[in-house]
Amino acid sequence: MIVARTGNEAMAEAMRQINPDVVAAYPITPATEVVQLFSKFVHDGKVDTEFVPAESEHSAISACVGASSAGARVMTSTASQGLALMHEILFIAAGLRLPIVICLVNRALSSPINIHCDHSDSLASRDSGWIQIFAENTQEAYDSTIMAVKIAEKALLPAMVTTDGFIISHGMERVDMVDDAAVPKFLGTRQAKTSLLDVDNPITLGALDLQDYFFEHKRSEIDAMNNVLPIVAEVQKEFGEKFGRHYPLVDEYKMEDAEVAILAMGSTGGTGKVAVDNLREQGKKVGLVRCRIYRPFPKDAMLKAISKVKVLGITDRADTMSTMGGHLYNECRSILYDSDARPLMKNYIYGLGGRDISIEDIENIYAELYSIQKSGKVDTDIVYYGVRGE
């Protein structure tokens, strides 16, 4: 069914179709509309979900941990400060191997306080053990939310699906929704290996784990993360076969013969694709790579994509505060170390706090990449694009 939906509406619709057992959430500033839209579904009897309107994001994710430990299918939604407040419990959810799914709207972390898009919130939790999926548009946000439940439950790891604040969350787009009945059929019911509610087989969850066992348990969690990409590929394949929309681990756009390329994540991937089309019309061989799955990092697929070109502009919508540029830049430089083909690279930190990035901006970046190709060298490796005085 083709409908017009904002990113928030599309994610809320996906949640309605998933019909989770428990949703616990809190509207921190900036609040995500996903929860209030979902609350309406609860009060209109469109879902069977037990909704826990928590008194903070910390309690919301804590309740999710409790509910998921009890064997329930559990979801929540948050953004920015809310995810930061959840930070402590994100690690616990992953360590306890609970397949909770968060619909996350990427919005800048304070300070200064701001409610608009950047990736500082989601990327600050990149090391928490959560699978992270960055959607380019509303359709992908909707599809990925459904897929994330299956991926998380197969991997026994929590997952967050992110949309870019306002750009996707509030932007109305065309969405092809699958039938209500098809979603539960695609997902099945959660088959938890253990449950706190199984009083005949009592388990102790969250035990104190000291020097003699902690490392083995952490190692097994890392191993679970090692197994995620094949699971993602399998679920994406199944989703594609059933619903006709196919998703890659790393999205390559017109990369077959590209000379220069941009690497982007989130909605900028979509903006960049328009710039690629424009420049292709002018005969320029440009391409775009979009990081869709950020955690775990799709090393092989990414390496295959980015090592093809001579010059790569890596765009990051957050800074690592390491003085070494953005997240994608650092990770891509790292994976290229062992590669024979290594493009010249330049890092463009852009769009912090919702500063707009236009098609024209991206065309300018491509022009710069061409001049790097021509000169054969990168003068400044990290630039802050669109900042006054730069």
Binding site: E55, G66, I203, L208, L210
Partner: protein, 306 residues
């Protein structure tokens, strides 16, 4: 009224072999609470002494389903467990009639967990929250909490040469909880097993959120010999430092009225944490603590008479 024989003949739900100190009241409280429960229970614990001593991997003292999440969120965690229970019961995926109990120390309840507890009660989750109150952060090194009484020595409110222990009075958490209008709220202590067991059963029968504040002497932090735990617990009641009462349906009831209200010094002088007060240059700290105890007791007498 429960019979000790009947209670003692049950299968243990909180087992021995854990690593609590000799004379630890927190573990006595946990065992008593679980013994009192007549329905199958699911337990959550906040980070703290009870959690640390009872679940050092690969061992567990809990013979019932148990979850530990973090320090400040046991009320939220158990809210989630209870919500999952309702969701899965509705779908026929759980058949049994279960009860939910959250355990937190005073640090995890009065201080860092207060917001989560307030939320749990306001949302009316049918969970019994048990605070084992030993009046300081015993697990982390005896730091002061908002449950620490006036004058007590802790490592962050030390008995100094200029300041004799904690300056401020205790937070009256039970009254804060009562202001939420829970289905049941009470104070008890381990020295009165029948009072404790009766209150736990009432709380688990109450159709809504319930709260029991269990006074749980800590021989380490309070600095007394381990065999005195029960005596200290009883003296807290006899001096009205820890009144035993309950609140349900808008009514207060004192459940154990001391025959003769003893001066708090009889309670204080058993414990090293108050030792410095008896050598202090004036009687102000002890007097202020006595005044606080008297005020709260008088108010309770009035409220329970209504």
């Amino acid at each position: 009224m429960a019979s000790l024989k009947q209670l003692a003949s049950q299968k243990e739900k909180f087992l021995g072999g854990h690593r609590a100190c000799a004379g630890c009241a927190a573990t006595i409280a946990a065992r008593m609470v679980l013994t009192a429960a007549e329905q199958p229970v699911v337990v959550g614990a906040a980070t703290g002494c009870l959690e640390v001593v009872s679940t050092i991997y690969p061992f567990s003292a809990w013979n019932v389903p148990y979850v530990h999440n973090a320090f400040e969120n046991v009320a939220a965690t158990m809210s989630g467990v209870e919500a999952a229970y309702r969701a899965l019961k509705k779908k026929g995926m759980v058949e049994k009639d279960l009860r939910f109990i959250a355990f937190g120390g005073d640090g995890g309840t009065y201080d860092i967990g207060l917001q989560a507890l307030s939320g749990m009660i306001e949302r009316r989750h049918r969970v019994l929250y048990v605070c084992y109150n030993n009046e300081a952060y015993m697990n982390t090194g005896i730091q002061r909490s908002s449950a620490t009484p006036r004058g007590a020595h802790t490592t962050t409110s030390p008995a100094g040469t200029e300041i004799p222990g904690k300056i401020q009075i205790r937070k009256n958490l039970t009254e804060i909880i009562i202001a939420h209008e829970p289905a049941y709220a009470a104070q008890t202590t381990i020295g009165y097993w029948n009072d404790l067991v009766t209150k736990v059963r009432k709380a688990l029968d109450a159709d809504g959120p319930s709260f029991i504040n269990i006074y749980a002497p800590c021989r380490l932090g309070w600095a007394y010999v381990p065999e005195k735990t029960i005596k200290v617990s009883k003296l807290a009641v006899e001096t009205c430092v820890w009144p035993l009462y309950e609140y349900e349906n808008g009514k207060y009831k004192i459940t154990v009225k001391p025959k003769e209200k003893k001066p708090i010094t009889e309670f204080l002088n058993l414990q090293g944490r108050f030792g410095h007060l008896f050598k202090w240059r004036d009687d102000i700290p002890i007097k202020e603590y006595q005044e606080e105890v008297d005020m709260i007791w008088e108010r309770l007498l009035k409220r329970s008479a209504q």
